[in-house]
């Protein structure tokens, strides 16, 4: 049992462990992430401040921990939202394959694959106004396409099977067939394949806060910290180092977890 699901356990262990690490870290760090101490501006890394302080004297280690925690929360929530949204729309499109509904949904997923979405979400967010809720909304709006397309293909494959036809014969409504008979059968495949979009969501979230469109300052976020470090890059290289390192670590580990899962199937 344990051996059979070893890949699943390892992969979810990597993601959950990393998330937990930043959650716990944010709890136990002593320095406040937003407290401005002007006497401790631009300090080198030391025992007191492991990664130094920024131009307002804030401890970079604790800011990184809070920022990474927020990054995880945003992207995992957006991932869940886009996954459920994509499963539902993909299920509908696959069930009524060839209808106008399917064509509309497929048009949208196709469009979302080929447009330069980074530019579009930046423009959309600067009109809607920056903030966490809008960032969730926009990320979900972009990311539902991949799970929807995967669900649609799997539903088309599965819907001619006998137990679905039996459900038809017993007179269930299409919606309850989709929700109770078809989707449970395709969820595992889609779930595993769509872990791969999680690193992309994390990168997008960092990009949004890089453009100042994520969470509002002074709350720390990885992208905003990198921008702040950028203006001091030649003077104080350590400001940008910790958030960059954390972002790269998160993306690569989640990607490795996704790869382990994908090889399992």
């Amino acid at each position: 049992m344990l051996y059979k699901y070893r890949r699943l356990i390892i992969a979810s262990g990597i993601i959950a462990g990393l998330w937990l690490l930043f959650e716990v870290w944010a709890l136990i760090v002593s320095a406040s992430p937003t407290e401005v101490v002007l006497s401790e501006r631009l300090l080198n890394p030391s025992i007191e401040h492991w990664f130094g302080t920024d131009d307002l004297g804030r401890d970079i280690l604790s800011r990184t921990a809070y920022g990474a925690r927020l990054s995880f929360r945003v992207s995992i929530l957006a991932w869940f939202a886009s996954l459920s949204f994509g499963l539902f729309l993909g299920g509908i499109a696959g069930y009524w394959e060839g209808s106008w509904l399917d064509r509309t949904i497929s048009w949208c997923t196709g469009a979302l694959f080929i447009i330069p979405y980074m530019i579009i979400i930046i423009a959309a967010l600067s009109v809607l106004g920056p903030g966490l809720e809008n960032a969730y909304l926009v990320l979900t709006f972009i990311a539902w396409a991949a799970p929807a397309r995967m669900t649609r293909i799997n539903v088309i494959k599965i819907k001619t099977q006998d137990y679905i036809r039996a459900a038809h014969a017993m007179g269930f409504s299409p919606l309850s067939i989709i929700l109770k008979a078809i989707l449970p059968a395709v969820i595992p495949t889609v779930l595993i394949a769509s872990v791969g979009i999680l690193p992309e969501l994390i990168a997008l979230d960092a990009g949004l806060s890089f453009f100042g469109l994520g969470v509002r300052p002074p709350a720390p976020s990885l992208g905003k910290m990198i921008v702040d470090g950028l203006s001091n890059l030649s003077l104080a290289w350590w400001i940008a180092l910790a958030p960059t390192f954390a972002l790269g670590l998160i993306c690569i580990s989640v990607n490795i977890a996704a790869r382990i899962l994908r090889n399992a199937t």
Partner: protein, 306 residues
């Protein structure tokens, strides 16, 4: 309707959909563009005058046709902050971005073909190595690569030409930008190479005693490049998003830096102009990709629909 017509219709509908979205985003959702332009303390008569001037009191359809007419004559409006026409600024910075993106794409092409060649010819662990490397490189955000690269440049004092917009500056951003397309295009080519490896016509060529190198260049590459080409437009879409960030880091005067400044100043006409230019350019790139695919595909008439 035949396949070609359908593909064409798809892209035209996509173009209109995106332009309509663009129009809605900037002309309908913000409560009052003229209020933003004049500031919160302006008197109502001035705001009303500006609304008349911009045609904001007209019905929506009339505004949209007016907007499309403006696009066709490259009139993208006037910037809120600089009070200059948007199009010249967008065009000049878009040229820089296109240059760096295409040099990045060129480097990516070279890398992907070389990596596929090495792992095809030497049957050892190279394929596993490249696959793992590519997969991890693909997942690293271009922001991280840019910062790491920038830190090294500062270490060796290489950033003296940042912000000048000369060739070295553009090349620097191209070097960072090339990581993502290299990895993802190489991944596609590697997969395709090893799918085709089991095809009868390759086995046949091998049984004739041709060397692996000959088989790769003369028999395999052209077929392996087909799915590669169909993926290029997706890769470029992500590449442009990365360029937006990388150009801010290296202060390249491209579309990314213009976008960054426009977001900071909430300069909606510039944002709208960038969005319209980039999306229209993308539709053109996609149509070109379809055409190249059709041209290279020996099974003519079978057009690939994205």
């Amino acid at each position: 309707m035949n396949q070609t017509g359908r593909v064409f219709c798809y892209y035209v509908s996509l173009l209109f959909g995106l332009l309509f979205l663009n129009f809605l985003l900037f002309n309908v959702i913000p409560s009052d563009p003229s209020r933003i332009m004049l500031g919160p303390n302006a008197d109502n008569a001035a705001v009303e005058h500006l609304r008349q001037e911009f045609g904001l009191n007209d019905p929506l359809i009339k505004q949209f046709t007016h907007y499309i007419q403006g696009l066709l004559s490259f009139d993208l409006g006037i910037s809120y902050t600089t009070r200059r026409a948007v199009w010249p600024d967008v065009a000049s910075s878009f040229k820089v971005t296109l240059l760096s993106s295409f040099s990045a794409l060129l480097l990516a092409t070279i890398y992907s073909i070389i990596s596929a060649y090495i792992s095809f010819v030497s049957k050892s662990g190279f394929r596993k190595f490249f696959t793992a490397l590519n997969s991890n490189l693909m997942s690293v955000p271009s922001l991280v690569i840019a910062i790491v690269f920038g830190l090294f440049c500062i270490r060796w004092d290489l950033l003296s030409f940042a912000g000048t917009g000369d060739v070295r500056n553009i090349l620097m951003s191209a070097l960072v930008l090339t990581i993502y397309p290299s990895a993802s295009l190489s991944q596609i080519l590697l997969e395709q190479t090893f799918t085709l490896d089991k095809q009868p016509y390759i086995i046949e060529a091998r049984s004739f005693g041709f060397t692996n190198s000959f088989i790769f260049w003369k028999r395999l590459l052209k077929n392996a490049l087909l799915p590669w080409i169909s993926q290029i437009s997706n890769v470029v879409a992500i590449l442009i998003g990365g360029a937006a960030v990388v150009e801010v880091v290296f202060s390249v005067p491209g579309i990314g830096r213009l976008l960054f400044q426009a977001v900071l100043r909430r300069d909606l006409p510039i944002l709208q102009g960038i969005l319209a230019t980039v999306t229209s350019c993308f539709i053109i790139i996609n149509i070109l990709t379809e055409f190249v695919y059709w041209f290279l595909n020996p099974r003519k008439g079978e057009i690939h629909v994205v």
